[in-house]
């Protein structure tokens, strides 16, 4: 469990650390949102089976 205490980016300032991690989380939300939730027909059709299989609200 010693590795558990090692944080990535422990030596950068906490503000910069927060910003970078928040940016990563936003990027992830954007990616999932675009593929799984966008109303663009072509995107919906391409990922149709995926959306159903993930129980994302579909159609």
């Amino acid at each position: 469990m010693t590795t558990a205490s090692v944080s990535l980016g422990a030596s950068v300032s906490s503000q910069s650390r927060f910003m970078q991690l928040a940016l990563v989380a936003l990027l992830g939300i954007f990616v999932v949102g675009f593929v799984g939730f966008s109303h663009i027909d072509a995107v919906h059709n391409a990922a149709h089976d995926y959306r159903h299989s993930m129980a994302f609200p579909c159609h």
Partner: protein, 267 residues
């Protein structure tokens, strides 16, 4: 931006692995059920699942706002239907068979990385996922947040099943995800009884508000097929999250564990 780069790198590997695993599971467990449901959908006179709610989505605006249900079969452009039976909506769709499968795989990998980005970023705030076992627990949390909680109010649906307005369901889905994640976070990382009580309220609240439901639950899909699909979706998602969390733990462990002298360069 080294931290950013490393977090994205870990998420990319974990998302790729978990996405491929999920795509394989879906090809075996969920996609055959979707194809079966599409047979009922075709038999029921074209695609009407898009329009169960009077509040139309943008795709139905193109078909001059058919009120509901089977009216769509006459309003839908017949040539497009004949050319691409798998097409749910107007517009481009991948051809059945390999192309459709390939796009599903891509969607799985891309969103696998998306979920991994969220998981790694959030877990770093809490000290990071140290090994595969911690990753499994983080994966369980992800499963609870992204599959279980929204799935209670909005169970996995097959084509040809009625549903409420799409945007309202999506808003409820995301609100439930955020509330459940916040609740679990409060329970796990704040040792305070009042906050734990608040956490329970947060987790329960979306279900008291209730997910948007369709006016009618009438569907040509047999109950048994739907139940099978709900089980398949839930179990495949559970495996996906467990794999995702475990792989994050392993990859991140290699970063921090075996290269302590490099730790600063990862900062």
């Amino acid at each position: 931006m080294n931290l950013f780069r490393n977090v994205v790198f870990i998420a990319a590997i974990a998302g790729l692995v978990a996405g491929v695993v999920l795509a394989c599971l879906q090809a075996y467990a969920t996609v055959p059920l979707i194809l079966k449901a599409e047979v009922y959908e075709q038999a029921g006179g074209g695609h009407h699942h898009d329009h169960a709610a009077p509040a139309a989505t943008d795709s139905s605006a193109m078909s001059t706002a058919a009120p509901a249900g089977n009216a769509m079969s006459s309003a839908a452009p017949a040539p497009a239907e004949a050319a691409a039976p798998a097409a749910e909506d107007e517009g481009w769709a991948p051809a059945d068979g390999f192309e459709r499968f390939a796009f599903s795989v891509v969607a799985n990998i891309v969103t696998g990385i998306g979920f991994a980005l969220i998981l790694v970023a959030v877990s770093e705030f809490a000290g990071g996922i140290g090994n595969w076992r911690q990753g499994v627990f983080w994966g369980l949390a992800g499963f609870a947040v992204f599959t279980l909680a929204p799935g209670l109010g909005l169970p996995p649906e097959l084509p040809a099943m009625p549903a409420a307005d799409l945007t309202q369901r999506q808003i409820w889905w995301w609100a439930t995800v955020v509330a459940t994640a916040a609740g679990l976070g409060l329970i796990a990382f704040r040792k305070s009884l009042p906050l734990a009580i608040l956490a329970v309220l947060l987790i329960v609240a979306p279900h008291i508000v209730g997910a948007p439901q369709p006016d009618s639950f009438e569907t040509p899909i047999p109950e048994g097929l739907h139940h099978q699909f709900v089980v398949a979706v839930t179990v495949t998602n559970l495996v996906f999250w467990l794999v995702l969390g475990a792989v994050v733990g392993v990859v991140r462990g290699r970063f921090t564990g075996t290269a302590t002298s490099l730790r600063d360069s990862f900062a």
